[in-house]
Structure formats: structure tokens, C-alpha cells
Symmetry: C2
Subunit: 158 residues, 2 copies
DNA sequence: ATGTTTGGTTGCATAACGCAACCACATATG
DNA sequence: CATATGTGGTTGCGTTATGCAACCAAACAT
């Protein structure tokens, strides 16, 4: 049996995972954020198998998260560059990094630190909040159907 | 060959993915956020296979993201409840949901809407920013080794 | 007492992954 | 020019993960 698809779930989390939820995929995106561009750079920085990397790069290009560029016209040496859609994954990766810093790597401290390139200020911890900056925990959240809700989603959350 | 482990990467994103990066795992956590507690609730709301759900619930309990409770002492009918560590995944799921709303479900609109239970205010879009609320894009970010950096991480980012 | 729900386990078929070997093309070196 | 090295893959093979259906014991409902 083939792997089950997530894009039928009427849920944006499932839709996101359908694109980047594969094993290795988000780490390839992380590498792109860290500056990798060529096949060999991804290969060495990740320790991934070549065929898997080929597959993931292809799928990320197809998903419009990476773009395949050929810097020299006559050469087939490609570079993989983040698209606008790909760069928009930054909050996902940073919130994962902050969760990992706090709950996985608590002992040794954060392996990587992010800060403002200009001022050196460190990052604010990402949190769920209203536009008035009121922080919301899970039990303060109302979960209701949105404009794109299916009938089953409606039935569940109304 | 067995699946390659991510927890050797000296990266908190990889460490996070080692715990929740499996196929289905983050959707199980989403269901816990949406209120599912029993095996059958997860089963019906996700459309997941029973053996896979058994495996994921076990691993999430082992990772201290879910806790297995037995409401009635003499019964073995369990409930799976989010721990503090599990609830801390909220920013990860919300940033994924917002990315999916914007880039995957753009046409139909968001399937699910989150808001402040008390005031009804809707959520702020999650973004990477300094403590002064200055929004940072990828090219404004300095990526440097943290206190837990390995020698290879040091070499890469110094 | 009987049937139904719950929370699983087991077996089997298919898909995904990891590793090594191979290959064509491009570039560097002598 | 000849040879070596680097790049960006593809292919084959063995192992692991996933999906589905069937089965099952304990708990609960009638």
C-alpha cells in the first residue's frame, strides 16, 4: 500500500506536512536557510543518501519551495535557491529550533544561535498571541471553523 | 538499513524532528490539541491505521509529549493527555497552520480559525523578530554557534 | 446473558529508505 | 594533450516503515 496522503484532511497543518513532512525534507530546507546551494553542499552538511537527496530536491522544486538555477548557461551544475514560499517557512523552522533548544538540548545549550545581523539583538521566543501581544496558551484558544472548512470540520468545531 | 537518526546532528531542528518528524506524528499531536484523548478519537479523526497509531502514541508517551492516564483505576481504557512539553509545541503547529493557510490552502481559505477564547480577537501572524518586535527576514539573520555547538558547527559558522 | 465498544496485536503486501557502485560531464593539474 | 578529481546524479539490492484487514480479550451497555 502506498503512503497515505494528508492533503485531503481539510487542515493546513496536514497540507503543510504533505509538502515538507517527509523524512529529511525539513532538514534540506534548514540547510538552504543555512546557506547550502549545491547538491554536494547539501550532501556533505546533511549526511543524506544521494538518491534521497535527489528525490527531496526534486519534490521541493516541484512544491515551489526551492528553485533550480543554472549559474553558467553551458553547465548543468545547478544551484537550489529558496523561493519566497520557501523563505516563508522561517517561522516554522525557528519555532522548531526554539522547542528543541528548550526541550531536547536543554543540557548542552543551543547548538546554533540566531540574532539580528545589524544590532546583534537576540531573538524573541516565538509564541502564539493576539495582535495586542497577549500571549495565549492552549486553553485560551478558541478553535472554530474557518472560511475553507469542510462539512466534517464544521460539524466538529461548531 | 534502518532509518538514519537525526539526534547526532548538533541541531535543535534535527533533534525536534527526531521526536516528531515521523510520518503521522505531528498530526497526532494536532489531534491532541484539538481535543482528542482516547485511542478511538484519534483513530476516527485522523483516518490512521491502528498499528501506526499504537506506535505513534507509544513513542509520544516515551518522548514525554503525551501522558497515558487511566481515569478509572480498574479499567485499562486509557486517555492520552498533552504534557507541558507537548503543549509547548503549540507555536510549531500554529506556524505550520499559518504557512499552510497562506501557501497551500490559499484558494479555499483557512479550514480552521484560531482566536482568543475570551475576547474573540484573532491571532497575530507568527514571525521571527527581535525582542523589540523588529521583524527579521532571512537575510537579516546572523547565524552563529551557540553554547552547545560542536566543533563541526563551530567550524561552519564562525 | 448477549451484543457492542474499546484498545489493541498479528500477518501480509507494498512503498520508502540507506548504502554502495556506477556513470557522464566539467574542471583542474601536469 | 592526458590524466585526475569534482559534480550531479542513476541504478540495484537489502532492510525498514506503512496500510489494510482480520483477529482478540477486556469493559461496558441492554
Amino acid at each position: 500500500m502506498s503512503r497515505k496522503r494528508f492533503d485531503t484532511h481539510n487542515c493546513s497543518i496536514a497540507g503543510t506536512l504533505e509538502l515538507v513532512g517527509d523524512w529529511w525534507t525539513l532538514l534540506v530546507v534548514r540547510e538552504a536557510f543555512f546557506g547550502s546551494r549545491t547538491f554536494t553542499q547539501f550532501l556533505q552538511n546533511l549526511g543524506i543518501s544521494r538518491n534521497i537527496l535527489t528525490d527531496r530536491l526534486e519534490k521541493l522544486v516541484e512544491a515551489d519551495i526551492l528553485e533550480k538555477h543554472y549559474p553558467k548557461a553551458q553547465s548543468q551544475r545547478a544551484q537550489y535557491i529558496l523561493t519566497h514560499k520557501g523563505k516563508a517557512l522561517l517561522p516554522v523552522l525557528v519555532s522548531m529550533m526554539q522547542w528543541g533548544d528548550q526541550w531536547v538540548n536543554e543540557a548542552g545549550g543551543a547548538p546554533v544561535k540566531l540574532s539580528d545581523l545589524q544590532t546583534g539583538e537576540h531573538l524573541r521566543t516565538m509564541q502564539v498571541e493576539t495582535e495586542n501581544l497577549k500571549k495565549l496558551d492552549l486553553d485560551q484558544l478558541a478553535i472554530t471553523p474557518g472560511p475553507g472548512a469542510s462539512t466534517s470540520t464544521l460539524k466538529r468545531f461548531e
